[in-house]
């Protein structure tokens, strides 16, 4: 355990909010002898500490990088603006959490890219670290800057700022990259250029500077081509073949200050059998690979003993689709109740919400209940392939009401492809039906009035989904629909929240953007734009201004229907699911036709060709 070496002067720590964000020294942090380290890796989560510390991907990769001989991986988080201000005034560089050494002195600086709105934070962090923003401006002595995570399925808007992207699952790929780095440093073949070229030949690594894009006059892509014959045209994502034998952090870093997910995160499986047509995660994490209950029980016990957490969260995209959920929960409950440990299932579907689960899982019993019908009518739910029926929802809420609950939250999406006004009416009607279900339920809590919260997000077309070609509704249309729904919701038991359409448009721009957006991001960063994911820092007017000054039309990216014959900015990234499958799924959406889940039969999405110990794929 490190003693605080006083690297951040206490005068500064005493002036910023939550100084515990910056002091490090957490239980289970990993320290290494610098003399024996040949590759220093700084893993940056480009948002505030409390969010970054909660991320499962970071926990896993921190562990697998540090398991590698000669590699020391440390953590870093974007300092909150109050701290950045102090750092600028006192000329303190951006440092890593464990050693307190400046990021600029590391061999490799990796960013996990979880959402588009963190892009300005990536650049703000590089600026604080005094690392040149663009890959082309970096000198031999600067770190290699690498990105990964969900946003790397369309890395193009930030391609100019990264030397390398890791596509897909990184727990084997990143140590491999470090090994290449150490080998080239040792045998004297290392130079930035040689290393990047060699990295581009390892499966799963995309080096944007080795690919050239040309645009047509109308702004669409003319061609995308590699600069060398020995690097792939398409970069296929990496996967972990066998989840039971994958590295998993059994001694995760335990934070002192409260974080968003301050509990054991037990990853149960990867992938999703459902195939909702708007959902990127459901596509890009395929094929479906489960861990066995045996592995999970061992890991759960181990994690509990090493952390002392009192909650275990079962992580997956849809926990009820785990083929052995009953066995797993039964075996965990054999000891968790006595140890005062609660289980939480954050991704429950309505059709699997049962009385049994409600009784078994204390957080289901005590916590708030959230269901995601996503659309207001069966027609639209079929079109988006959200295989949930009204009856399922009403059955689920009745179980909850009978058990004494008096509030539920319902998630919907607005602006979905094929949406009509009657689908919005459907949202209001569905909420009404939930309210009446409460008052018709003889076992309800008679002392309480019901509250149904309707939370409505805006549809954002995401790469690698059947809806990747779809236009997002423009802001006026989205706002008109939001207002329309507001007027439709008259029931006094229903609360209505909706997302800012302007934020959703910016997200859509960066989700489907190409390399030309780099100019806007660079200008934004230099003008101090950051923390866009935080309401208090997001400014639409400023983004409009930045787009105008850099000659970018946001509608071209967000509100335009992309042609199926068009080269998409992310076409060179291969997530396993084929473009043909996505196009077929889109066609089915127009016919309101559903696709059965992978548990019923394989629909030939293509992800099975990546191999691995799959659960359902043929």
């Amino acid at each position: 355990m490190k003693e605080n070496n006083g690297r951040i002067p206490s005068g500064i720590l005493n002036r910023v909010a939550k100084p515990g964000r910056y002091t490090g020294g957490e239980y289970h942090q990993i320290l290494k002898d610098k003399a024996k380290v040949r590759c220093r890796f700084a893993f940056v989560f480009p948002d505030v500490y409390e969010i970054g510390m909660s991320n499962l991907g970071v926990r896993i990769l921190y562990h697998s990088l540090n398991a590698e001989e000669g590699v020391w991986c440390e953590r870093a988080y974007t300092p909150w603006p109050d701290m950045q201000e102090q750092m600028r005034q006192c000329r303190l560089p951006m440092t890593a959490q464990e050693s307190g050494d400046p990021l600029g002195s590391f061999d490799i600086v990796g960013f996990t890219l979880q959402y588009e709105l963190c892009y300005t934070n990536v650049l703000a962090t590089l600026l604080l670290a005094d690392i040149p923003l663009r890959s082309s401006e970096r000198r031999e002595s600067d770190p290699i800057v690498i990105g990964g995570g969900p946003c790397s399925y369309n890395p193009e808007p930030i391609a100019d700022f990264f030397d390398i992207f890791s596509i897909g699952e990184g727990e084997e790929a990143l140590p491999e990259l470090c090994r290449l780095y150490m080998r080239m440093k040792e045998d004297g073949t290392y130079s930035r250029e040689n290393f990047l070229h060699a990295a581009a030949r390892i499966p799963g690594f995309y080096v944007p500077s080795l690919y050239a894009v040309h645009y047509r006059e109308d702004g669409r892509i003319q061609s995308f081509s590699r600069l060398y014959e020995d690097i792939p045209d398409k970069i296929e994502k990496r996967i972990i073949a066998d989840m039971d034998h994958a590295p998993y952090p059994e001694e995760p870093v335990v934070p002192y200050i409260e974080t968003v997910h301050d509990r054991v995160l037990l990853e149960v499986y990867r992938g999703c059998i459902r195939g909702c047509r708007f959902c990127q995660a459901g596509m890009v994490y395929r094929p479906i690979r489960e861990k066995s209950p045996k592995t999970l029980c061992r890991q759960a016990r181990c994690l509990y003993e090493s952390t002392g957490y009192d909650e275990i969260s079962l992580i997956s995209l849809s926990i009820s689709d785990y083929s052995q959920l009953s066995e797993l929960t039964d075996r965990l409950l054999e000891w968790t109740d006595d140890a005062h440990v609660s289980l939480s299932l954050p991704s429950l579907r309505v059709d699997s919400f049962t009385e049994e689960l409600m009784q078994k899982i204390s957080t289901v019993r005590t916590g708030g209940l959230t269901f995601a019908p996503e659309a207001g009518t069966q027609r639209l739910r079929d079109a988006i392939n959200k295989n949930v029926e009204e009856e399922d929802l009403l059955r689920a809420v009745n179980i909850a009401f009978s058990a004494g609950k008096s509030s539920v939250k319902l998630y919907f999406m607005l602006g979905l492809p094929t949406e009509r006004y009657e689908d919005l009416d459907g949202i209001a009607e569905l909420a009404d039906k939930v309210v009446s279900a409460y008052y018709r339920n003889p076992d309800r809590n008679r002392a309480k009035a019901v509250t149904v919260t309707v939370s409505v997000a805006c549809f954002i077309p995401k790469p690698m989904t059947p809806f990747q070609w779809e236009a997002q509704n423009d802001i006026q249309t989205l706002e008109k629909k939001q207002q329309y729904l507001k007027e439709k919701i008259t029931n006094k038991h229903v609360r209505y929240h909706y997302h800012d359409a302007r934020v959703s448009q910016i997200e859509a721009v960066f989700a489907r953007g190409d390399r030309r957006l780099a100019a806007a991001l660079e200008l934004a960063a230099k003008e101090g734009v950051m923390f866009d994911a935080w309401d208090e820092y997001f400014s639409y007017e400023r983004w409009q201004d930045i787009f105008r000054r850099t000659g970018i039309d946001p509608a071209f990216y967000a509100n335009r229907e992309f042609g199926e014959d068009e080269i998409l900015p992310w076409d060179h990234i291969d997530c396993g699911v084929s473009r043909g499958y996505l196009a077929r799924e889109r066609e089915k959406a127009y016919r309101n036709q559903t696709t059965p889940s992978c548990a019923e039969h394989c629909n030939g999405c293509g992800a099975n060709r990546l191999g691995g110990k799959n659960r359902w794929c043929k």
Binding site: M1, K2, E3, N4, P9, S10, G11, I12, L13, N14, R15, P19, G20, Y22, T23, G24, G25, E26, Y27, Q86, Q89, C90, L92, V254, Y256, I257, E258, D262, Y304, E305, S306, T307, G308, Y309, D310, A339, H340, T366
Partner: protein
């Protein structure tokens, strides 16, 4: 994780006191963070801690007077109760294996005194300020001995000047050549309703003696709590 005797027993829980330090990086975590951290450390150590009853049982922890964020301490106290007999020295070893060094425990024992017997806290404060000298230290000394001693307190209704001289049992300020710093030795009231935070006195000296006005990277003060005294000025333990 040591396996203590975990067989449920009907015997009455036995109270235990843990004396620990909170120094270095750990001075920056809040009281709530400390509670969470200690809870988890006790679980990791496998001590048979008594849980609260009710809806959401948690280990039953009682701390002595909270320490302000940004202050260190060599003597903090935490009372727990165990539901089965434990070997005290094995428990101390297990607990320290589960705690970061900057929060390590120095002793586990059966308490004799109650927290309600705490009357005063002792503090040592070093002030690193540009051009610190003996005159400045003397000025601080004079300011601290003033009666009434009017400090600015934040209350719900805004800032208010309050006389805190009754809460300062003893104080001394002098200049320390070697560190070029002003050193304060304070004994302040620390019982429930009368708790005086040393920050108030630092703020008072800041405006009164014009110290600590420069860049926070160079000018700062370190607060170290050195334990508690009873009303009779006996060292609490």
């Amino acid at each position: 994780m040591v396996q203590m005797n975990q067989t449920p027993t009907q015997e009455t829980p036995r109270p235990l006191r843990i004396r620990f330090r909170k120094i270095g990086a750990l001075q920056y975590i809040s009281h709530l963070d400390l509670m969470r951290t200690m809870t988890r450390a006790l679980v990791r150590a496998g001590l048979p801690v008594r849980y609260t009853s009710g809806y959401n049982p948690k280990p039953h922890l009682v701390f002595s007077a909270p320490l302000p964020v940004g202050a260190e301490s060599t003597k903090e106290y935490l009372d727990i109760a165990v539901t089965a007999p434990v070997d005290l020295s094995a428990a101390l070893t297990a607990l320290n294996r589960s705690l970061p060094a900057e929060l390590s425990a120095d002793a586990i024992y059966t308490p004799e005194w109650k927290f309600s017997e705490i009357a005063y806290a002792r503090y040592e404060i070093t002030i690193h300020t540009n051009g610190a000298n003996a005159e400045q230290a003397e000025l601080c000394n004079r300011l601290l001995h003033q009666k009434p001693l009017m400090v600015r307190k934040m209350t719900k209704s805004g800032e208010r000047d309050t006389d805190v001289s009754a809460s300062v049992a003893s104080c001394e300020a002098f200049f320390r050549e070697e560190g070029g710093e002003i050193f304060l030795s304070l004994v302040l009231r620390a019982d429930g309703g009368n708790f005086l935070k040393p920050d108030y006195l630092i703020g008072y000296l800041k405006s009164g003696a014009g110290i600590l006005s420069g860049s926070p990277a160079e000018e700062f003060c370190k607060v170290m709590r050195k334990g508690f005294l009873t009303e009779e000025s006996v060292e609490f333990d």
